[in-house]
Symmetry: C2
Subunit: 202 residues, 2 copies
DNA sequence: GTCTATAGGCTGATAGAC
DNA sequence: GTCTATCAGCCTATAGAC
């Protein structure tokens, strides 16, 4: 006995290998560089074998997205405990933008490729998107109570504008390397100051 | 004589037809839906004929980008005369986001597809990108002198963050229809208030 | 200038042998 | 479970006839 377990273990290993190699390919060549043939060759199986583990190329993309977003989240969540809201904003923005620029192709896949994939993040059973958004909602609340943002602003749009601003910085830098001529640090600092009461402090 | 002129006119007409149809295809099916075969069929020429007017598909994309950016610019420039900076910001942001959402595939092609194309906007001889950026730099200056933004902020990073924030709103809405749950109006308003002294006014 | 024809490549996905 | 072989389609770009 135990042969069932061994088979399942082997099966899981192949699946993991597929994802690992697929990820490497995306990192190196972008999502469009991920093809079933090249993937098969890299894991030393025939193309057909992949379809025993994933329904199609789309399913692989979704699995990669889930993985990638969890990693982004892992970088944001520890920062949520900083009590001073403006400092927390600076830290979160720095981490978010840093992640995007360090993993450009992963970020592209997550947020700049197909609405299907991005939407999935907010629908997945793990609700990774919702958890990340909660961190920003909490930040928006604290920006208000600590007097950085006006009382009159609604929390949800404020959190969404913050996400949008961070996403905008990352995606501009990725799509147009020459345009935002300022350094990431300067941009993050400016964004932070823009959302702080004194405009430059803490 | 005049046959030379006629020929040149005809040549220009074919070129214009190619661009017109190419644009329709992009609008309807996105940039990846633009193929030389389908384009040829639509203008009732053979695929080979297109190569007499454009070096390749890339050249068509660049021409479309230039066109698209000029249209965006045409919507932004008239607003540059509003004297109250915070109002000008509201108007510019509304126009920018409006353009992106009304022409999603054009916007995607301009700013979310290939770094090559986006970079071209800032390198083209017409310097369309530079002109658009000037509008924002001017806005950033006035936000400072009118006391909306802190004196300590540098103008260029501020202008870049503003562009990033607007771009972030558009691209999030395009890539993830369900995420920013707030209306465009609420988001633009929140962004404006965030950059205004009182946090909610004018 | 415009055509036909085609080179030469790629793709995702599947049927059926072993 | 894994393979080979292949389907059915797409693509950009070009050679050479007219």
């Amino acid at each position: 006995m135990g042969t069932v377990e061994r088979r399942e273990r082997q099966r899981a290993e192949v699946r993991a290998a597929i994802l690992r190699v697929a990820r490497e390919m995306v990192v190196r060549e972008g999502f469009e560089g991920l093809t079933m043939r090249k993937l098969a060759e890299a894991i030393e199986y025939s193309p057909a074998a992949i379809y025993l583990h994933f329904e199609n190329r789309d399913a692989i993309a979704r699995a990669l997205c889930l993985q990638g977003f969890e990693e982004l989240l892992a970088r944001l969540e520890p920062l949520r405990h900083e009590p001073v809201a403006s400092r927390r904003l600076r830290a979160l923005a720095g981490a978010y933008v840093g992640f995007g620029l360090e993993h450009p192709e992963t970020y592209r896949l997550l947020f700049m490729t197909d609405p299907k994939y991005t939407t999935d993040i907010f629908r997945s059973s793990e609700d990774a998107g919702g958890r990340a958004f909660q961190v920003l909602v909490r930040l928006a609340e604290d920006l208000k109570t600590q007097g950085d943002a006006a009382e009159s602003m609604s929390v949800v749009p404020l959190a969404e504008v913050l996400w949008g601003a961070m996403h905008g910085l990352v995606s501009l830098k990725l799509t147009c390397p020459i345009f935002p001529s300022s350094s990431v640090e300067a941009l993050v600092e400016t964004l932070t100051n823009l959302c702080s009461r004194q405009g430059a402090s803490t």
